[in-house]
C-alpha cells in the first residue's frame, strides 16, 4: 500500500494523549471516534466494538514496540477506515513482547478486501518496526504536527525497512 494512503487512513481520526483505563476502554474510544467521523450508526458501532474485542480474545494484536493494531471487518463501507490513538499512559495489552502499549492503530476493512487489509498491515508493520517512527508517534506535540509529518515519517520508515 502506498504510504501516503496509509497516512491518510490514520490521519482522518487522531486521538492524542487520551486517558484510558484499560484495553477495553481504549478499544471503545477508538471505535467510537471512527464511527463518529464516518457517521456510522450506534447500532453498528456496538457490533463493531464486539468484533474488535472478539478479535483480541483470539490473541492480542499488541505486535511489540509499544504498538497495537486492533482490527475488524466492517460491512457497508468501500474503503479501509482507520483511527490512531496515543494514550497518556501505557496500557497493559498482553502484547507479544509483554510491553505495555501507547500507540494504537485501529484498522477496519471492507468485508471483501482481504488483500487491502494485508497490504495496510504490511506497510504499517514496516513503519512500526522503525524506531524513529515509533518515537515520532510518541512525542509529536499536537494533531497538526503529527498530520504534517505523518506522510514523510511513514514513507521514510517504509523505505528504510
Amino acid at each position: 500500500m502506498n504510504p501516503k494512503t496509509l497516512a491518510s487512513v490514520f490521519g482522518n481520526v487522531i486521538l492524542l494523549d487520551v486517558d484510558a483505563e484499560d484495553k477495553q476502554d481504549i478499544l471503545a474510544q477508538l471505535v467510537a471516534a471512527v464511527c463518529k467521523r464516518h457517521k456510522i450508526s450506534k447500532r453498528q458501532q456496538s457490533a463493531l466494538l464486539s468484533k474488535v474485542k472478539a478479535r483480541e480474545e483470539l490473541g492480542s494484536t499488541g505486535i511489540g514496540s509499544g504498538a497495537a493494531v486492533p482490527h475488524a471487518k466492517i460491512s457497508g463501507v468501500k474503503k479501509l477506515l482507520g483511527a490512531f490513538a496515543r494514550t497518556a499512559q501505557p496500557i497493559e495489552y498482553d502484547a507479544v513482547d509483554g510491553e505495555p502499549v501507547r500507540l494504537f492503530f485501529l484498522l477496519l476493512s471492507p468485508e471483501d478486501a482481504a488483500e487491502g487489509y494485508l497490504e495496510a498491515l504490511s506497510t504499517l508493520s514496516r513503519a512500526i518496526r522503525d524506531k524513529k517512527f515509533c518515537s515520532f508517534m510518541r512525542t509529536a506535540k499536537g494533531k497538526r504536527d503529527l498530520l504534517y509529518s505523518l506522510n514523510e515519517v511513514v514513507l521514510r520508515a517504509v523505505q528504510g525497512g
Binding site: 494484536t61 505486535i63 482490527h71 494485508l118 498491515l121 506497510t123 504499517l124
Partner: protein
Amino acid sequence: MSTQAVRRVVLKGTHGLHARPATTFVQTAQQFTSAISIIARNEEVDGKSIISILTLGLGKGAEIEIKAVGDDADAALDALVSLIETSEAFA
C-alpha cells in the same frame, strides 16, 4: 551440532499470513532454540518477530521458505510446516 534446514510451503488459507497466523507462527517458533526465518519475495525476516513477518504482507497462494539454523532445526521445521498446513489460524 548445529544444522541448517529449509522448507518451502504455500499459504493456502483464505486470508494469507495476517496478524493471527503470524502470532501463532511466532509462538511455535519461540519453542525452539534454532534461529528461524521466513524468506519470501527475496526478503528474509526474523520468524520470531510478528512485526517482521507482517511486513511481508503475504496473501493467499504466497510461496514462502522457512529456514531454521540450530540444534533443533529439523524439529522446528516439522512443527512450523505442520502448523501452516493444519492449524485453524491458517485456514
